[in-house]
Assembly symmetry: none
Homo-oligomer: 133 residues x 2
DNA sequence: AATGTTATGTTAGGAAAACTAACATTAATA
DNA sequence: TATTAATGTTAGTTTTCCTAACATAACATT
């Protein structure tokens, strides 16, 4: 997986939004959003003061939930579908790991050359730490 | 302009973030952020209940302000530079007319002297664009 | 028909976050 | 020395969000 994809995944999982913003973005009520969390369909972060903080991924998931419910799927069904999706994602990651050694070496060489060309484009772990409570 | 660029511009200007989130993203105090608004460097939206709501573009602007201040440029200089940038975006020819060459040289000399006095922190703030799509 | 379940609404009381406005402080400058 | 610019701090108020409980409409089960 590329460095760009990884950092974009980090960005989309950053807990930035309060519930009010998420309500507007999804047109869901606070009651609905909390209910879906209660049923473990989303896991928003919490601020120091216990406020839920949502990521863009959370918003995506909520829109999926809303869509599925409007299609008549109930919470149990949605939960099952999400579990399946997660398993599929894990399997695809595992499949991705099964690249040949030579392919791996080729990718690493590529990454090294990239990193050397523009040092600042390499996302460093410490840079994001302040965004998490 | 492509459809993708337009929709991404829409997302970047959407008022999503409360001041607390912006404080974390920029490492600025609420006092500083409100002060910069007071001096018209940013124009955050307001919620129905009068809370400031910031866009990702606002966060970018705040990081620019922070960087310029750390370089020793003062508020008046930043305001002028932002105005110039905005005018340049609209009409570069028009922008040149608004400030005579001698005026421009005077401003730049002023800012250079200001900046030279602040030698201590030349650390550049990272570009926010790394953190979102 | 009566009862239970699911998803959501509503309300109350409390805590956190953000607001404005005023005064304080610190470093740089005239 | 006095002034100014940028920021800190505090107080009092309003808005937003929290949990917990009870209410309800639609639907399913007995």
């Amino acid at each position: 997986m590329s460095e760009k994809k990884k950092s974009s995944e980090l960005r989309r999982s950053m807990p930035l939004l309060p519930i009010g913003t998420v309500m507007q973005l999804t047109e869901l009520s606070a009651r609905q959003i909390r209910y879906y969390e209660e049923h473990d369909l989303i896991q928003p972060h919490r601020s120091d003061g216990n406020r839920r903080m949502f990521s863009l991924n959370d918003v995506d998931t909520l829109l999926e939930i809303k869509d599925m419910l409007e299609q008549g799927i109930n919470m149990a069904g949605i939960k099952k579908l999400f579990d399946m999706k997660k398993n599929a994602a894990v399997q695809s990651v595992q499949a991705e790991k099964e690249i040949s050694d030579s392919e791996l070496r080729r990718i690493l060489r590529e990454e090294m050359r990239n990193a050397n060309r523009h040092q600042k484009s390499t996302l460093r772990q410490g840079d994001l730490s302040r965004f998490y409570q």
